[in-house]
């Protein structure tokens, strides 16, 4: 019994079919509990007023935007090294989800920034880095869509994911450097783990768990779709040849 068994598409389909209802249920419960708790049962913060409630969407979405890219990097490496198709398809499946989380992070950030900083958008290092991350997601998705041969597409996007990771990382720090000379610490992005008391911290943890489970659910669903799509293509090709 090893993890590589799940590289077999059939085995993956069986296992994911079994897991999917459970993960979906857990994701629903965690999201509901976390968001309802956060929205209805937390007090307002001194500095932020009621806007502190946005944190339950903003922070988990931002965390998952980065985690999704990391997951794509790992699955791309697995594809390049061990040529497991499920791995490449999981990376493909994860990209739009990561983009969605990035957009949520940016949108909630803009809505939060409006009352707090008095502007929808500031060229704050974190915001800029996230915008760049969104561009990386777009490029990755576009490359998948543009290349017809699925194995070629998997190879090329994997190389892009690796190079992109390095440059996304570089951009993160370049942006930090770039803004130093312009603004003082205009960002109010606080270090949540340290500054936030338990009242906010506990529902936030539940929300993060909910977002992680949501991500897993969506990856499973979309990977299953991709596997079926590949099988469909294979069957159609066989039909044409017969």
């Amino acid at each position: 019994m090893s993890i590589w068994e799940y590289a077999n598409p059939k085995k993956f389909m069986q296992t994911s079919a079994f897991l999917l209802p459970w993960v979906t249920g857990l994701a629903l419960i965690a999201m509901l509990v976390g968001l309802v708790w956060g929205f209805f049962f937390t007090p307002d913060a001194d500095k932020f007023g009621a806007t502190v409630k946005i944190i339950y969407l903003h922070v988990p979405a931002a965390m998952m935007a980065i985690s999704a890219w990391t997951m794509m990097l790992v699955t791309s490496l697995i594809w390049l090294i061990r040529r497991h198709h499920v791995s490449a398809l999981a990376a493909k499946a994860a990209a739009p989800i990561g983009l969605m989380f990035t957009v949520i992070g940016l949108v909630t950030g803009a809505i939060w920034g409006q009352p707090m900083w008095g502007t929808w958008w500031a060229w704050d290092p974190r915001l800029t880095a996230f915008l760049i991350l969104a561009l990386f997601y777009l490029g990755y998705i576009a490359l998948w869509a543009a290349v017809e041969n699925p194995d070629t597409a998997a190879d090329l996007t994997s190389v892009l994911a690796i190079v992109g990771s390095v440059f996304a990382f570089l951009s993160r720090y370049a942006v930090l450097f770039w803004n130093q000379g312009l603004h003082q610490g205009a960002s109010l992005s606080l270090d949540e783990q340290e500054n936030v008391s338990d009242v906010y911290w506990l529902p936030l943890v539940v929300c993060i768990a909910g977002f992680v489970l949501l991500f897993v659910t969506l990856v499973l669903i979309r990977t299953r779709t991709e596997i079926r799509s590949r099988r469909l293509q294979a069957l159609l090709t066989r039909e044409r040849l017969a």
């Binding site: 929205f39 903003h58 469909l232 069957l235």
Partner: protein, 53 residues
């Protein structure tokens, strides 16, 4: 049961609405794609089984 959101009610409501709309929309899209692909695959599989007999 609505909590008192004060002057920031708009911002909070909008971010929840926007995020939930994005998430639900994306889940619906994924489910729809999944259904469609499953149906297409089933169709071809059945057709090929018949042809194979």
């Amino acid at each position: 049961m609505m909590p008192e959101l004060g002057k920031y009610a708009g911002a909070v409501m909008w971010s929840y609405a926007a995020s939930l709309a994005l998430i639900l929309g994306f889940v619906a899209l994924s489910l729809w794609q999944s259904r469609r692909m499953k149906r297409a695959l089933d169709e071809v599989e059945k057709r090929q089984e018949k042809a194979g007999e």
